[in-house]
């Protein structure tokens, strides 16, 4: 009964989305207020129906209803409750349901909090949102229905991919989707603006909070994914330039560029068509990521059941959404009135440089991700593009970006002098030079590039702090807009990420060796001893857990207990790393295969500043949320709504 209700609600949502995607558009072009008002009602109805449907699917998972094929394929009665729930979106069909749910929630949020928007703009935005929803609902209903029944029902399910049974990964997809789907709102605003033929200061102000919210969630989503790969894959690395990681990085880069270019539209009424293009691209790149993951054209760590028919559908959808958007752009954007001329040394000049570099980065990632595919198709040659390519291309482009990042906020709008800005940054500059020299001389004399990169990290933190302190000294701390505070936090956070990434990647110590019981080995300033390896029984796995004693100068320091879990059902092994952190470095251990006679393969890593990567990312998102709470973003909105908007956007997480 419940699955049928869910299925039916989904069909109804599809019907409502069709109405929402058409009538308000007609209403907006005819100026019919009744048709336009329909958009709001339909958006709320659609959200209600999708919530109902998603709830039904979760219910099937929680009660382990094995008459539903999707539950059989992805769940098991012995699984802990948390993973039964998160298993709902740990598969292709369920993750599409999650995507649709978030899309519908964003639609409802626009309907509720967008009351201050002009009627035509709001109804067009809601209609575009609904049209995207129609595509996804059709995709689920016609190719990926999660409510299909199975008869006779098997006694138990096949279980969830063991690698996904992890708290870090349980919340990685929802965060990532909040980001991806959040950009659909930005996209809808861009299309609506092109339809209206008007992009102005007010538009930039309306679109900015949505971009910011999506960007914050995407930042968190990427960070969670990276954290997960750090502690579950057991290689001690945090970013692998895997196609799917790249797929999430591209919209993030485009979204970051959009955040900054929207400021230029808002302050200078310029850079309009570029900003609209970025808004279309940020969402298009999100869809591209979905296509790459689901269609099976590229291989990656994300093993979704891949199916060319689904691939074709998503490709068609990608072409309609992106192609439609870009065609409209090619037709209407030339009519957008261009703004005034820019001085190269000015705030807007710095923001253009930022956009140029961020887009170059996004293009680099795109090229590196798709090149193997193109080459294979054209010449049949197989290549793998990995870290060497990105280290040689992506990283150097970051250098001018980071160098300019601290200077930009010191520059005034329109016309300004460079030297006063640089003079204010002298302390940050010297701090960066000293840091680079210290890192180069004392930490590792051979890693010159790492030392320079470390200096850049200090420069980012120092520069952002200088900006903040200079403002605070002028006594403007209390009146300082939250968006400025948020900017300082996010910019400094980037420096924290850079320090963590550079230190972990360049100055880690690793020890990989076979150890027998009682054997010990020196490891950096520590000494590791394999004390014991014991069998354990988990709810749906058996495991082997090692106890590794770490001593320092002969004194007991800590104990690491890495595990190797064998999920009996899927016959898959998952390594459970053991990490001891003091926020300045991680002691990291994984257990490989072995037995009493041969000994066990043990990997130990000492990763300096590793936690900073994720702390920095979280801080980066925090800066975004602080900025989001700025009242100025909602000028024209009644003040009462200011607090609720933020609360609602946060509560989506």
């Amino acid at each position: 009964m419940i699955p049928e209700l869910g299925h039916f609600a989904l069909i109804l949502a599809f019907a409502v989305a069709i109405v929402q995607g058409t009538l308000p558009l007609i209403g907006a072009s005819r100026g019919d207020a009744r048709l336009m008002a329909l958009g709001r009602t339909a958006a709320l109805t659609q959200a209600f129906l999708v919530i109902l449907s998603f709830g039904a699917l979760v219910q099937c998972y929680v009660t382990s209803d094995f008459s539903v094929a999707n539950v059989v394929a992805n769940s098991h009665s012995a699984k802990p409750l948390l993973y039964k729930i998160t298993g709902t979106w740990g598969n292709h069909e369920g993750s599409m349901m999650l995507w649709t749910l978030i899309l519908a929630l964003f639609g409802a949020a626009v309907a509720i909090f967008g009351q201050n928007l002009p009627d035509t703009l709001r109804s067009r935005v809601l209609a575009i949102q609904a049209l995207i929803g129609v595509g996804f609902l059709a995709f689920i209903l016609f190719t990926s229905n999660p409510f299909l029944r199975l008869s006779p029902a098997p006694a138990d399910g096949n279980g969830l991919n063991p690698v996904l049974q992890d708290p870090g990964l349980a919340f990685h997809p929802p965060m990532l989707y909040l980001g991806y789907v959040g950009f659909s709102v930005t996209y809808a605003f861009a299309i609506a603006a092109l339809l209206e033929g008007r992009v102005d200061v007010a538009w930039a102000r309306w679109v900015r909070p949505w971009t910011l919210a999506a960007w914050c969630f995407l930042t968190l989503g990427i960070a969670l994914g990276s954290w997960w790969s750090y502690y579950i894959l057991g290689w001690g690395g945090f970013w692998f330039w895997d196609p799917v990681e790249n797929a999430s990085l591209m919209p993030w880069l485009a979204g970051t560029a959009l955040l900054h270019s929207a400021i230029v539209v808002e302050k200078r009424d310029a850079l309009k068509s570029w900003t609209v293009l970025l808004a279309i691209l940020a969402f298009s790149l999100s869809l591209l990521g979905t296509f790459l993951v689901r269609s099976g054209v590229l291989t990656s760590v994300h093993a979704f059941a891949q199916d060319p028919a689904r691939g074709m559908f998503i490709l068609g959808f990608l072409i309609v959404v992106t192609g439609g958007g870009l065609a409209l752009y090619a037709w209407r954007a030339p009519k957008l009135t261009p703004g005034g001329l820019f001085q190269p040394i000015s705030r807007e000049g710095a923001l253009i440089l930022n956009n140029l570099l961020l887009c170059t980065l996004a293009a680099t990632v795109l090229l590196g991700t798709l090149y193997p595919l193109f080459l294979d198709l054209v010449t049949g040659e197989k290549v793998s593009v990995g870290p060497p390519f990105f280290n040689a291309t992506f990283v150097p482009i970051c250098a001018p970006l980071f160098a300019a990042l601290c200077v930009g906020p010191f520059l005034g709008w329109k016309r300004t002098e460079l030297w006063p800005a640089l003079a204010r940054l002298r302390i940050a500059f010297f701090a960066a030079i000293v840091a680079a020299i210290v890192a180069g001389v004392f930490v590792d004399g051979r890693a010159t590039l790492a030392a320079i990169a470390f200096g850049f990290g200090v420069w980012l933190i120092g520069g952002s702090a200088s900006e903040f302190i200079i403002r605070a000294r002028k006594g403007r701390l209390r009146t300082m807009p939250r968006s400025t505070v948020g900017m300082s936090i996010s910019h400094a956070a980037l420096g924290v990420v850079v320090l963590g990434a550079v230190a972990t990647a360049s100055w880690n110590t690793e020890l990989i060796r076979t150890m027998k019981l009682g054997e010990s080995a020196p490891f950096g300033d520590y000494r590791a001893t394999l004390v014991k390896v014991e069998p354990l029984q988990g709810p749906n796995y058996t495991s082997e857990r090692a106890t590794i004693a770490i001593t320092r100068d002969g004194q007991p320091f800590t104990t690491l207990t890495p595990e190797r879990r064998m999920f009996t059902l899927q016959q898959r092994q998952v390594s459970e790393t053991s990490i001891q952190t003091n926020l300045l470095r991680d002691l990291y251990a994984t257990l490989g295969e072995g037995d009493v006679q041969q000994g066990w393969v043990v990997r130990l890593y000492l990763n300096p500043l590793a936690p900073w990567i994720w702390l920095g990312a979280a801080m980066c998102a925090l800066g975004g949320f602080v900025s989001l709470s700025d009242r100025r973003l909602r000028v024209g909105a009644p003040k009462r709504k200011a607090a609720t908007l933020q609360a609602a956007q946060v509560s989506h997480s």
Binding site: V297, I319, S384
Partner: protein, 179 residues
């Protein structure tokens, strides 16, 4: 006019990319196939102790018989190897192909028992218990199969169990051409 063209540039880029994606989906290519650096290079050293007691150890002379040779890495604990085994038997019995087998990270007595039970398709068999030989050959797991031509050059490298289709479409034609 050129300005207009500039605004259509994003659309053109998309069309080209979408064309490639469509092509990729239609072509039925396997993105998991990683290719091999071994192909079209002289075979690396083939030195391994014999699997069967009293057998001759493996050496590169086995690859220079003037005929193409298959080299198959297997293990008794590997289920895909079991799936592939009947094809190996067919190659030997019906086609008279020379196949050299290497038991990879497999206790020799277990590998011998496995072959005794299922039949031994190998002209010569070696053991690579510690996996040293497999490093030279760029092995990523078992089963993997190499085709070495009459001149001792690696021509094919399969990273997966060979299938009926591989056999008929690729391996047999190449073996016949080499004869």
């Amino acid at each position: 006019m050129s300005n207009r063209l500039l605004y259509t540039l994003p659309l053109l880029t998309l069309v080209i990319m979408a064309g490639f994606f469509g092509w990729s989906l239609m072509s039925g290519r396997d993105p998991a196939s990683i290719g091999s650096v071994m192909v079209n290079r002289p075979a690396p050293a083939l030195a391994a102790p014999a699997l069967f007691e009293g057998g001759a150890p493996l050496g590169n002379d086995l690859l220079k018989t003037g005929k193409p040779v298959l080299l198959n890495f297997f293990a008794s604990w590997c289920t895909p190897c079991l799936a592939e085994h009947p094809l190996m038997m067919r190659l030997k019995e019906r086609e008279g192909v020379t196949i050299i087998g290497v038991a990879w990270k497999n206790k020799p007595e277990e590998a011998r028992a496995w072959l005794a039970k299922l039949g031994n398709p190998f002209t010569a068999a070696g053991t690579d218990y510690d996996g040293k030989l497999s490093l030279d050959w760029g092995l990523s797991g078992v089963p993997e199969t190499y085709l070495i031509d009459a001149n001792g050059v690696v021509r094919l490298h399969y990273h997966a169990p060979i299938t009926e289709k591989d056999l008929n479409d690729t391996i047999l034609p190449m073996l016949k051409a080499g004869k």
